[in-house]
Symmetry: C2
Subunit: 197 residues, 2 copies
């Protein structure tokens, strides 16, 4: 029956999704074209609708994919570390020059939040769910650290992380961009008690 390896289509779909996710963050929801994504994935535009019912469906799937990566990175960065060290390490990565300079593979919230209000309900829902899980991730770590009102602290933390990277990406001079990240690193660590060790 199966004329192709059974998971061939699945793998193609995931390849397309990966390139879609990168192009989304790099060029924005309107800047990404079906043909360009397929070309990046090594295919032509025609076969697209065998994998997704519409461009919007692909974008929604790519959003879930990106937030899956966010959770993977969190798990990777905090693996086998106590909550304080793990959180500090994640903050350091989030506010690093490497993350600032690689929006295509970085946090979707910093790269795409501003575009969400004008997207389809499906995309907005997927994005909101992802962002919420991300904040919950922080809240759990802060709770273990004995913070009172960990939800509020996590919300404030997420806000400054996202804002700092967004603004740092605006700066024209590299040293200004560095200073923005450094200022938020210090402010966050001080306020969350992560600088004492």
């Amino acid at each position: 029956m199966a004329r192709y390896p059974s998971d061939r289509k699945q793998q193609t779909r995931e390849t397309v999704l990966r390139h879609a996710a990168n192009q989304l963050r790099a060029h924005g929801p309107e800047g990404v074209s079906v043909a360009a994504v397929m070309k990046d994935a090594g295919l032509t535009h025609g076969g697209f609708y065998a994998h997704f019912s519409s461009k919007d469906a692909m974008v929604a799937a790519a959003i879930e994919y990106m937030f899956g990566n966010v959770r993977d990175r969190w798990a990777h960065e905090t693996l086998d570390l106590d909550p304080a060290t793990g959180l500090a390490r994640y903050v350091d990565w989030y506010l690093s020059a490497a993350h600032r300079d690689a929006p295509a593979t970085g946090c979707p919230v910093a790269a795409l939040a501003a575009d969400m209000p004008r997207m389809s309900a499906k995309c907005r829902a997927a994005f909101a769910a992802g962002a919420q899980k991300m904040t919950a991730m922080f809240a759990q770590a802060l709770e273990r650290l004995g913070h009172r009102d960990p939800a509020a602290a996590a919300s404030s933390l997420a806000a400054e992380l996202v804002g700092a990277v967004s603004i740092a990406r605006l700066a024209t001079e590299p040293q200004r961009a560095d200073a923005i990240l450094a200022a938020s690193r210090r402010s966050i660590k001080q306020r969350l008690g992560l600088d004492a060790g």
Copy 2:
């Protein structure tokens, strides 16, 4: 010589710019079309190139226009107030539900920062300059408040303001959106010593 009122073209240009600025924040740089802006301004698309050399030139001019409004609002909100009260009042406005729900007339950084990396050099430069002036505005107030390292504190403040509004605009449930703004209001005021009065 002058067959029309001398400032007629200037006024038309400003009307177009105002609508361009609103549409930019509402629909994003790719979502705004020359024809739609002109229609909003009560004109047709043809006359556009009498006012701007290109769509990009209009966007760049609209960016300057928006940041001009930012400074006007700052002046308006902090007028005749001591630095602490003025800053607190601005923070309250920035993190208000009204601002969150009206991106089209709100802060350009929260509405458009994510789109800047993929815009023309001219637009990026105008945006970076505007954002920098905004942070300098905060730094001046913080300096008057006797903060040490007011530049760093202003940077951190701007980051959390922008991030909080960006994330609040994602939330699907209104009460979550409110909680996000409230958490950052408290965190900012506490850390800057604005809650004591």
